[in-house]
Symmetry: C2
Subunit: 329 residues, 2 copies
DNA sequence: AATTAATGTGGAATCGATACCACAATCAAT
DNA sequence: ATTGATTGTGGTATCGATTCCACATTAATT
């Protein structure tokens, strides 16, 4: 392996001078600079990141903790993160928790040890334990998808989006609207989306039958099950359903079709997330575009600002966009 | 930050001894070991990976280069990789090329500089330039999804899978079978899958109309377009279509439905990849499960074997599994 | 001409670990 | 009692960079 020492010898200068040229710092004569640059180019020399990190305590690596990369939301966020980070010479160290909260904590420690310059956490909860650990490791950190006091975060307007979605249904004349959510330990997807729905229903003077509100996990199958529950247990059958993710909506649609029900005539439905599939469903699914890639880019910008002690925003709320398609009428 | 020096002082031994305890190497008295271990536990000390890497030339990091993480195949592979690698204390450094061949080369260099212990390349081509660069960087490397001479690779049996898929259609009585592929610069998905189809057609004495064979890129939209081409340009209308990915199949189905055609009566269809959506389509899609996660795990095992100079297999071909659903009859 | 300031350069310490080597102490074998 | 393993420990060089500091040279100022 070729090192700074070799370059120094070949260019007939000291290692200090080579370093100065490389980092564009301190005084270097035009002559010496030229010689060093020539040798560097000829040899294709690139300084060792590890030696550099050891000395400077900077690694140019950002750790990204996520629950899975098998769904569109985190994938898109990581794509956005990667795009922005690579512009500034940063790389992503991936930590996949596979939805395991314990691993979330372990990875925070591990990334700390790896001395990443910053951490992006695509979180599914904001437990006390997690928040404590975040403070404890004392590394620049941005949370995406959940809001959290005292932590830089990029979130979506879950409450308003769901409220608007609910209003859309009501405007179309629906009064009996069902809701497929997820566990409320996920504040964003579980709690706020549900609250938006409930509040809008209440605001419009509509009552909510208990059987209309079901819960799934983050897969298609549980959307199917949730819709089954709704149809089997509701005395007063709803005419519309809001699912908090597109996959849940897809599962729900699957059950509806199996029962020979027409969408949207017998049951209107909407999801959230603007999955690629949503427009190819039958009928195309009404959904909400959250601009996940942009959220990732935004998160990257904030973590970089934080790392470089530039001004940053602690709280960023992304805009959303309703995509109204034939699954609603 | 707490270092080995601090531990040494606190435990009243030399740094060498601490290192020996930490790495379980050389002679250490029971007494000294106890003292060091106690101090380590009390302080929560963890050695700096960078200092370690600088000295040992090992980083416990595997670079993963992929074309995108927004589709299921690479996502699943990375999940499998991550699962296996993390078992052995390795982390993943992610390099997303966004389908840019140039970036593929750049990242190979970059990962080399980062001194990753190994590289996993989820490749979409096997260009000479790429192969050359792979030899040049001289880092343990495993390619997943493409086969390549002189490089450890994990592939799928693309040729046989497509051949079997074609045979399935023929057995069901189809004689006019269309094919939606991708560019043949992608040997696995483009070339071999097409060849499997062509060979089986020929083997069964069936001719292939030129208009039946169309090409798309890796998205739903181009599957739609390809099917449009087939139906508009084929004089002799096919009764079945094989698409080389589920997404292409989904696009094709979308066009068929738009034209009021029934699947599978008017057109039978099959995809490849066993996407999560495939079973929720209408009708559920016949497809091929490639066990991507397992391929990832397998790739991880090989790269680890290679790194630790243990015996490894240069060539691993994964098994596939036909999933026959209602889109074929 | 003498002093000060600006410009260049290299030596050496440092970052936090590992690993080789020398030396000490203990113990067994001749 | 001497030799020779075996066991245990610490000193020091090293990995490949950066950075501080000292020193040399040149240019600018009085």
């Amino acid at each position: 392996m070729i090192t700074i020492k070799d370059i120094a010898e070949m260019a007939n200068v000291s290692r200090s001078t080579v370093s100065r040229v490389l980092n564009d710092s301190g005084y270097v004569s035009e002559d010496a600079r030229k010689r060093v640059e020539r040798v560097v180019k000829e040899t294709g020399y690139v300084p060792s990141e590890h030696a550099k990190s050891l000395r400077t305590k900077k690694t140019k690596v950002i750790g990204v903790i996520l629950p899975t990369i098998q769904t569109e939301t985190p994938s898109r966020i990581v794509t956005g993160l990667g795009r922005e980070l690579s512009k500034h010479g940063y790389q992503i160290l991936l930590a996949n928790t596979d939805h395991d909260k314990e691993k979330e904590l372990e990875f925070l420690d591990l990334l700390k040890v790896r001395q990443v310059d910053g951490i992006v956490l695509i979180a599914t909860n904001t437990d006390d334990k997690l928040m404590e650990k975040i403070k404890e490791i004392n590394t620049p950190l941005v949370m995406i998808g959940q809001e959290a006091e005292g932590v830089i975060h990029v979130t979506y307007n879950d409450y308003r989006a769901t409220k608007e979605l609910t209003r859309l249904f009501i405007q179309k004349g629906h009064e009996k609207i069902a809701f497929i959510g997820v566990d409320e330990s996920d504040r964003s997807v579980g709690h706020f989306r549900k609250q938006g729905y409930l509040d809008e229903m209440a605001a419009q003077g509509l009552s909510v039958d208990k059987a209309w509100v079901q819960k799934g996990i983050f897969d298609i199958e549980s959307g199917y099950e949730a819709m089954k529950q709704i149809l089997n247990h509701a005395v007063n059958k709803p005419t519309a359903t809001i699912a908090v993710t597109d996959r849940l909506a897809i599962g729900a649609m699957s059950y509806l079709k199996e029962q020979g029900m027409d969408i949207p005539t017998d049951m209107a439905i909407a999801g959230i997330g603007a999955s690629e599939m949503s427009q190819y469903l039958e009928p195309p699914l009404t959904t909400v575009d959250y601009q996940n890639e942009k959220a990732g880019e935004e998160g990257a910008k904030q973590i970089l600002a934080c790392i470089n002690s530039k001004p940053f925003q602690e709280r960023i709320v992304m805009n959303y966009r309703l995509i109204i398609r034939e699954s609603v009428q």
